[in-house]
Symmetry: C3
Subunit: 254 residues, 3 copies
């Protein structure tokens, strides 16, 4: 930090298991990746190459390498896993992870229909090779999953070997955890937390209001995902109570 302010909430340091932030890279250039890492490196715990953007990304190897040499692991978005599975190309997917020497992978079923046992099977197989993040919740606004099902699925996926589960939102911040308006489904989140340990969940929260909401509910060291690179500095100030939105919230705690 550049100067000393009293009564600042205490953030975890890397490598973190809570207070974790996952970035969504949806097509940064190599130079932008360098800038992102230089400017926000301490706050980036992991980077997701959004959905299947890796398919059309120039210099994919170099990009992954820049992140890696800054100590930041990279993984492919869950939609890519689904794209391979639906095409019966799961073996090719395994080889792909190997080719790019990725140590993380995401298992999801946001765009495809996958029996839950089969999903857990994929988690089990993959978790022998890499660290698995598994995503719960549908990208389809019509498929509303009741809270007890979220919990059941999260538990089974953690048991199957997932390192953490991700609470799904669409990249724009609707569907899944959120209503169409972008508002958080508060009852859902609270019910999940009665059963699943907080540090096992990453909440997708691409919009500022959502980040504020989760910080106020779960504190400075909540795990957040799908954060845009340009929002990292702003998010860090939210976590520290140094932006209007969370200024009072943290001061009232001291």
């Amino acid at each position: 930090m550049n100067y000393i302010l009293k009564s600042i909430p205490s953030r975890t340091a890397k490598p973190r298991s809570s207070g974790f932030t996952m970035a969504m890279d949806k097509g940064l250039s190599l130079r932008e990746v360098e800038d992102f890492v230089e400017t926000c490196g301490d706050f980036i715990d992991i980077v997701k190459l959004g959905w299947a953007t890796s398919y059309v990304t120039k210099n994919l190897k170099e990009k992954i390498e820049i992140y890696r040499s800054a100590g930041i692991p990279v993984y492919f978005g869950g939609t890519l896993f689904e794209a391979f599975v639906i095409r019966d190309q799961f073996e090719d997917y395994l080889q792909l992870l190997d080719r790019y020497q990725l140590s993380f992978a995401e298992v999801s079923d946001g765009s495809i229909t996958l029996e839950h046992d089969k999903k857990c099977n994929y988690i089990e197989v993959l978790s022998k090779e890499v660290t698995v993040l598994s995503e719960v919740g549908s990208k389809d606004a019509a498929k509303i999953i009741p809270p007890y099902k979220w919990i059941e699925q999260m538990q089974k996926e953690l048991n199957a070997g997932a390192w953490k589960v991700i609470g799904e939102a669409r990249e724009g911040g609707t569907v899944g955890l959120f209503r169409d308006s972008g508002e958080v489904r508060q009852g859902l989140v609270e019910e999940i937390l009665t059963q699943i340990p907080e540090e096992k969940i990453i909440w997708e929260a691409p919009q500022k209001e959502q980040q504020v909401w989760f910080i106020k509910l779960l504190g400075t060291n909540v795990n957040l995902g799908n954060i845009a690179p340009n929002d990292f500095i702003p998010l860090e100030t939210l976590r520290l109570g140094l932006r209007g939105d969370t200024f009072d919230y943290f001061l009232n705690q001291f």
Copy 2:
């Protein structure tokens, strides 16, 4: 592409007459242009320097040159043409195209009132010097043009020498083809397509939902315009059915 996935829709390659994407540059720095070209070069068919941004752009020559040396033609937004015309400076406009050795120009009447015969006249004159894109539709929400008029104007402008016609939207994605909500005027688009060949039209579609809509209506190789540089990688994945929004749509075709 970085790896092989089966059943991916087949995209046209450059130089394309369909599956065409026009970028909107509204003030990129030279370094950002280099990055854009390096990262997305294969997908950028042409770049519009938005409205009259070229008036205040530093290093305009260098910017055009970076695009050109990557094989990407550049043209000035239609509002600049209108700014010259309304000031009785059309001759200066011709000299300007010459000074920057531009091979494309846009003729529009979104901000000025121009008799349609006169507009066609400009198209005729300009098309002797450069390749002309002409834009149909008003930027003024109050001026609603009925479908038969869109069609009539498009036909006349193509006859006058326009290479392609552009279906107008405001840069933010309202007005023209879109309702205030950003929603596409579906009946209008469908009626236009009964009369004008698809490959002769570029649809302005700056917002993701609009891009999805046009891709679902006209397929992977629809011509789209006013695409922000940061949206090029995401758009390419939409065209390929590799993002949630178009995932099912394309899979169902195989």
Copy 3:
């Protein structure tokens, strides 16, 4: 300017006391700052490092130096002043300004409750060391300040030594001068202008529609603040009547 167009409104040049534009930097990398300065330097009158982003900004000294060597002063957002004051660390704040050799500072009370006399006191003290910008209006949607109070506070703050007063909006463009919808509180603005000289006010107007509104009310050389770096080129074209939104407005004046 890259070419000659007749009947373009006449913009002031640097150093400006009107026609002033304040940029909001909320986490640019050093390279992005270089680009911003190179591309838009003539239009950037001053840069605010948004709220307390300076706390977590890497290479803060270098960043300030790049701006400074381009002749652009930098200051810390008002929320940082408030964060020091609420912690009884005002002395540390003075030292901080000194350490970074800043010649501007902002005094505000958007997130804390501060008696107005005390606020004016801070302005008086600070204005002996640096040039003070003071901000009027609350970030809290519930605290609606009636027009006569805005005027009274602005007058007192100018009397206390503020160089200019800033009409507050949240960074996203709601609250303060704006309704929740982002719409400008027109009556408020007009009433303020009956009492406070226009050149003494900087209007925060992060959204395009707000910029258009102020330009149409106060002309090309209105002072605007909280402008995103990417919006500088577009804003300059709005000021010059070279974008659809203000095209007619200026033409009608010639």
